[in-house]
C-alpha cells in the first residue's frame, strides 16, 4: 500500500503541470499548425501564400533578421565585458549588479517608450545635439523616411532592455567556475586575455549557449519595442501576426506567421545546440 502510493506520488506531483502545459502549450501548438494550413476548414497553403505575397512580408522578415543579427552579438559581447568587470569589483559589487540588472524587469513596451522619450523630435537627444550646435531645431529620426536612424533607435532600445538577461546568465555561469582554474593558468604564465580566451570562455560555453538560445528566441519575437518607437513604420514578423489577428481579423495568416517564427526559433536553437555543444566528457 505504502509502496504503490510512493511510486505514484511523483506522477501525481507532475500531473497538474503536465495537464496545464498540454492545454496551454502543446494543444495551441498543434492548433496553430492546423490553423495555418487550413482555409475555412479546408486544407490549403492559402494562408502561407497570402503571407508571402503581402507587401510587408519581405520587409518584416528582413527587419527581424537584421535586428537579431545586430542586437544579439552586441548584447553577448557587452554582457561578457560587464560580467568580467563585475568579477573585478570589490566593494559596491551588489549595487552595481542591481543597477545593471534593472532592465531585466522592464517590459519591452516600456523600454520602447523610454527610448521614444529620448529620440522623439523634441526629445533629449535632439536637445543635446542642439546644445552642441549639430542641429538647427527639432529633427525627426523615427519616421518612414529615416529607416536608418529608426533601426538604430530600435537597436539601442533592445540593447538597453535585454542585455541584462544575458548578463545574469553569464554572471551566474561565472560563479560556477572555480577560481582555481584561472589561477592555475595564471601561475603557468597566461596573460589575462589568454586566460579569458583559453579558460574562462570555454568553461562558460554552457551558459553562453543558454543565454544565446533564450535571447535569440525572444529577439525573433520583438514587437512592442518597435511598435512603441516607430509605430508601423518598421514592420517585424510578430507585428505582422498581430496586425493580421487584430486589425484584419484573419487568424489563418496570423497562424502562418506564428509558424514561421516557431520554425525560425527552432532552427536557431538547433544551431546553437550544435555549434556550442560541450561533449559530456569535457564538462567539469
Amino acid at each position: 500500500m505504502k509502496r504503490t502510493q510512493s511510486r505514484a506520488l511523483p506522477y501525481l506531483l507532475l500531473a497538474p503541470s503536465l495537464v496545464f502545459l498540454t492545454a496551454i502549450f502543446l494543444l495551441p501548438l498543434v492548433q496553430t499548425i492546423a490553423l495555418s494550413f487550413s482555409e475555412s476548414g479546408v486544407a490549403s497553403l492559402g494562408n502561407y501564400r497570402r503571407m508571402v505575397s503581402d507587401l510587408n512580408f519581405g520587409l518584416a522578415l528582413r527587419n527581424t533578421f537584421l535586428l537579431v543579427l545586430v542586437v544579439v552579438p552586441i548584447q553577448l559581447a557587452l554582457a561578457l565585458g560587464m560580467s568580467v568587470m563585475i568579477e573585478k569589483i570589490g566593494r559596491g559589487r551588489d549595487l552595481v549588479l542591481w543597477v545593471w540588472t534593472i532592465p531585466l524587469g522592464v517590459s519591452d513596451l516600456a523600454a520602447g517608450l523610454v527610448w521614444l522619450a529620448i529620440l522623439q523630435d523634441r526629445g533629449y537627444l535632439n536637445s543635446a545635439l542642439y546644445g552642441l550646435g549639430l542641429i538647427e531645431g527639432p529633427t525627426a529620426w523615427l519616421t518612414y523616411e529615416t529607416p536608418g536612424t529608426l533601426f538604430l533607435g530600435v537597436v539601442l532600445a533592445e540593447i538597453w532592455r535585454a542585455t541584462a538577461i544575458v548578463l545574469v546568465i553569464l554572471v551566474a555561469g561565472l560563479q560556477l567556475i572555480p577560481k582555481e582554474y584561472r589561477e592555475a593558468a595564471e601561475v603557468f604564465g597566461a596573460r589575462p586575455w589568454t586566460i579569458f580566451r583559453r579558460i574562462t570562455l570555454p568553461l562558460l560555453k554552457p551558459s553562453i549557449q543558454t543565454a544565446l538560445i533564450l535571447r535569440t528566441v525572444l529577439a525573433f519575437e520583438v514587437f512592442a519595442v518597435v511598435y512603441a518607437i516607430g509605430g508601423t513604420n518598421f514592420p517585424v514578423l510578430v507585428g505582422e501576426a498581430y496586425t493580421w489577428q487584430n486589425a484584419n481579423q484573419n487568424t489563418g495568416v496570423a497562424a502562418a506567421y506564428a509558424m514561421l517564427i516557431v520554425v525560425i526559433s527552432l532552427a536557431a536553437t538547433a544551431i546553437y545546440l550544435r555549434v556550442l555543444r560541450v561533449p559530456a566528457e569535457q564538462q567539469p
Partner: protein, 268 residues
C-alpha cells in the same frame, strides 16, 4: 590595478550604470513633465516643471485604473499558478527517480525554443467558448505557460540543494511525508520560491502580445497602452511607460540576492 587602469575601469562601470539609469530618469521627467514638458525645447536634464499633476491626469483617464487592476489580477494568477503547479513538479524532479523524468525535463527545456506568447493565437477560439476570453484570469493562464517551466526548474534545484537526510530525519522522528515537507523542506526553500514567484509576477506584468490578443475590453496595462498608443499624446505614453517600469525596479531589488542563484541553477 595601477592608477590609470583603475580610473578607466571605474569610468567604464559608471558609464554603464548611467547607460541604464539615465534613460529611466529621462522617461520619469517625461512622465512628470506633462503636456507642457513634452513640447519644451530644448529640454533640460533637471525637473523644472515636474509635478504630480501629470501622473494624476494619466491615472484619471478612463480605462487606466481598470487596466492596472487587470494587470495585477493576471500577474497574481500567473504567480499563484506557476508556483502552485511548478513547485510540486520541481519537488518530484528533485526527490524521485521515475520513468519519464527525463522526458518531462526535456518538455520543460523545449518550451524555451518556442515563442510561447505567439502560440496564444488559437487560444482565442477556445477561450471564447469557455468564457475566458477577455478576462484577466485568461491572460494570467497564458502567462503561466511562460513562467511555469522556469518555476519548475528553479524549485527543482532549490529542493535538490536541501539534503534528503533532513527530510529522512524528520520521518524518523515521526513526521508524515507531508509534515516533513511542510516543517523542514518548505521553510528552507521558501525564500528561493518567493523569488521565483516574484519573477513570475514580473513576466506577466510585462507581457504584451498574448495580453493584447486575448482581450478587447478588459485589457491589462501593457495591452491597454499598446492599443491606445497610436492615438495618445506623448506625455500620456511616457506616464504609462514610467508606471510600467516603477514596480520592476522594486521587484528586481527584492529578488536581487536570488537572481544569480536562480539562473545559475536553472541552466543546468
Amino acid at each position: 590595478m595601477s592608477g590609470l587602469k583603475r580610473t578607466v575601469f571605474w569610468t567604464g562601470v559608471a558609464a554603464l550604470c548611467a547607460w541604464v539609469l539615465v534613460p529611466i530618469w529621462l522617461i520619469g521627467l517625461g512622465a512628470f513633465g506633462g503636456r507642457t514638458g513634452v513640447f519644451r525645447w530644448p529640454k533640460s536634464l533637471w525637473p523644472g516643471d515636474a509635478s504630480l499633476a501629470a501622473l494624476q491626469t494619466f491615472l484619471a483617464v478612463e480605462g487606466v485604473w481598470p487596466a492596472m487592476v487587470n494587470s495585477i489580477i493576471a500577474a497574481l494568477t500567473c504567480m499563484a499558478l506557476s508556483i502552485g503547479l511548478g513547485a510540486p513538479a520541481g519537488y518530484a524532479l528533485a526527490r524521485f527517480s521515475f520513468r519519464g523524468q527525463n522526458t518531462y525535463r526535456l518538455l520543460i527545456l523545449l518550451t524555451r525554443a518556442f515563442p510561447l506568447a505567439i502560440l496564444a493565437l488559437p487560444l482565442t477560439v477556445a477561450f471564447i467558448r469557455i468564457g475566458l476570453y477577455d478576462t484577466a484570469f485568461g491572460v494570467g493562464l497564458v502567462h503561466t505557460a511562460l513562467a511555469l517551466p522556469f518555476a519548475a526548474l528553479v524549485s527543482a534545484s532549490l529542493f535538490q540543494a536541501i539534503p534528503r537526510e533532513l527530510e529522512e530525519a524528520a520521518w524518523v522522528f515521526g513526521c508524515s511525508r507531508w509534515q516533513a515537507f511542510r516543517k523542514v523542506v518548505l521553510p528552507l526553500a521558501l525564500p528561493g520560491i518567493a523569488a521565483a514567484a516574484i519573477f513570475a509576477f514580473v513576466i506577466s506584468w510585462n507581457e504584451v502580445f498574448a495580453a493584447s490578443v486575448l482581450s478587447v475590453k478588459n485589457r491589462t496595462l501593457t495591452a491597454y497602452l499598446l492599443t491606445v498608443l497610436a492615438e495618445s499624446p506623448l506625455h500620456f505614453r511616457f506616464a504609462g511607460g514610467f508606471l510600467l517600469i516603477l514596480p520592476s525596479l522594486a521587484f528586481i531589488f527584492a529578488v536581487r540576492k536570488y537572481l544569480f542563484a536562480m539562473w545559475g541553477i536553472a541552466n543546468r
